[in-house]
């Protein structure tokens, strides 16, 4: 484990790749020497950030506070103030899941009642929300490379024919990997996400395919 001792500076500067950063954080929890080096380094990066301070235009404050005013916080009910939608959504999902869950790839985790993976993902400092606005598909992708997962929350999807399913793909340097099947317009979580991949979507025959056979209906570049 001594190999970690020389990584505190790279860690503080944000220069560790995700996997190594997680390993280092585990090491950090147990190593006083690295804790002390990291704490000193963070004072330096704080000073560096502070040294660049530039007053933003006053209008920004208004825009931020306006958006805050209509943005729910994690762990709170959304604006609708009725808890019913989440429940109902789950029940509908549960029915569909009962029929389909066995066929769904292990990479896809259906949302459980009460839990909000989108919020969990957005709690990561690296999280990014990406709007999808393709001709036939719209929705929102919330992704945290740090957590290695994303939520795809479609608001509009094309109709499926009989015996068809939507299939998600994570496309990296080695080509597309199946990332899960779904047939309903519900948010789904995809695990095993890596930096720089593209999230793709096709329509495939029921049961899914190993490689995309349908037209790529959506291609979302994930953060690197």
């Amino acid at each position: 484990m001594t190999e970690f001792h020389d990584l505190a500076a790279a860690y503080v500067l944000g220069g560790l790749a995700d996997m190594e950063r997680r390993q280092f954080e585990a090491h950090l929890a147990e190593c006083m020497t690295c804790q002390s080096e990291a704490a000193g380094g963070l004072q330096v990066t704080d000073a560096l950030a502070e040294s660049l301070a530039t007053p933003p235009p006053p209008i920004l404050r208004e825009r931020v506070l306006d958006e805050v005013n209509t943005t729910p916080q994690v762990g709170q009910a959304a604006q609708s103030s009725s808890p019913a939608p989440a429940r109902k959504r789950w029940s509908a999902l549960a029915l569909a899941a009962a029929a389909a869950v066995a066929a769904i790839a292990t990479a896809v985790v259906l949302l459980s009642p009460g839990s909000t993976p989108t919020d969990e993902i957005l709690a990561s400092p690296d999280a990014v929300e990406i709007m999808v606005a393709e001709p036939v598909i719209s929705g929102l992708v919330a992704v945290s490379v740090e957590q290695g997962r994303l939520v795809f929350d479609p608001s509009q999807l094309p109709d499926l024919g009989p015996g068809e399913t939507f299939e998600l793909w994570l496309i990296g340097p080695s080509g597309p990997e199946p990332a899960g099947l779904f047939t309903q317009r519900d948010a789904i979580v995809v695990e095993g996400v890596e930096a720089g991949q593209v999230l793709g979507l096709t329509i495939e025959p029921e049961g899914g395919s190993d490689v995309p056979t349908g037209e790529i209906l959506m291609a979302v570049q994930l953060p690197s």
Binding site: A10, G14, G40, V44, T45, S51, L52, E67, P223
Partner: protein, 185 residues
């Protein structure tokens, strides 16, 4: 900017319970830092505003998950600002070669995006401290902190052994720390 960290934490914990007034106070105390950092990285006023807005909306949404035990409010916001800004740059420059990034950096070690930056006393001290670093130390700090490369990528981009890059980062931070941190606090 003079708001102390404990006071900021208290405000952030207030924001976590839905107190928009407390959140506005957090904004007032930190917006220059968040905006300035984003501006330094994206080098475009409109993009820096977008990044700052995203940072604060995300900070508001996730305020209930903010844990003072894991770091300072400023550090938390700065990390979000850096990552979002770097992501913006990468997306807009995805076709640009990393070599070009390295090259442009080496030409301008502690360049500023506009005349607007660095008039503050702290800014001046940091610039002086930065200029006390060797070129390769400056480069190692800047490529990671401002451009988001990992130390492996820095090694690759500059043709330097990994161990040397790590050593440069450590010595750069130690040197900056010696010069800055006492004065800064």
């Amino acid at each position: 900017m003079s708001t102390s960290e404990p006071a900021l934490e208290t405000l952030m914990l207030g924001a976590a319970t839905g107190d928009q007034g407390a959140f506005a106070a957090v904004y007032d105390a930190t917006a220059s830092m968040v905006y300035g950092l984003a501006l330094r990285i994206v080098r475009d006023n409109a993009l820096a505003e977008e990044v700052a807005q995203e940072v604060y909306v995300q900070a508001w949404r996730t305020a209930p998950r903010f844990d003072p035990g894991r770091g300072s409010v400023r550090g938390w916001l700065a990390t979000m600002a850096r990552r979002k800004a770097i992501d913006v740059v990468r997306r807009s420059e995805s076709s640009r070669r990393r070599d070009a990034l390295v090259g442009s950096w080496m030409d301008r070690p502690f360049d500023e995006p506009a005349e607007s930056v660095g008039r503050s006393e702290v800014g001046e001290r940091v610039r002086q401290a930065f200029s006390a670093l060797s070129d390769v130390q400056q480069q190692a700090v800047a490529l990671t902190y401002f451009q988001g490369l990992t130390y492996q990528e820095v090694a690759e981009a500059t043709g330097t052994p990994l161990g040397t890059v790590k050593t440069r980062m450590r010595s750069a931070l130690a040197k900056l720390g010696n010069i800055l941190v006492d004065e800064y606090d």
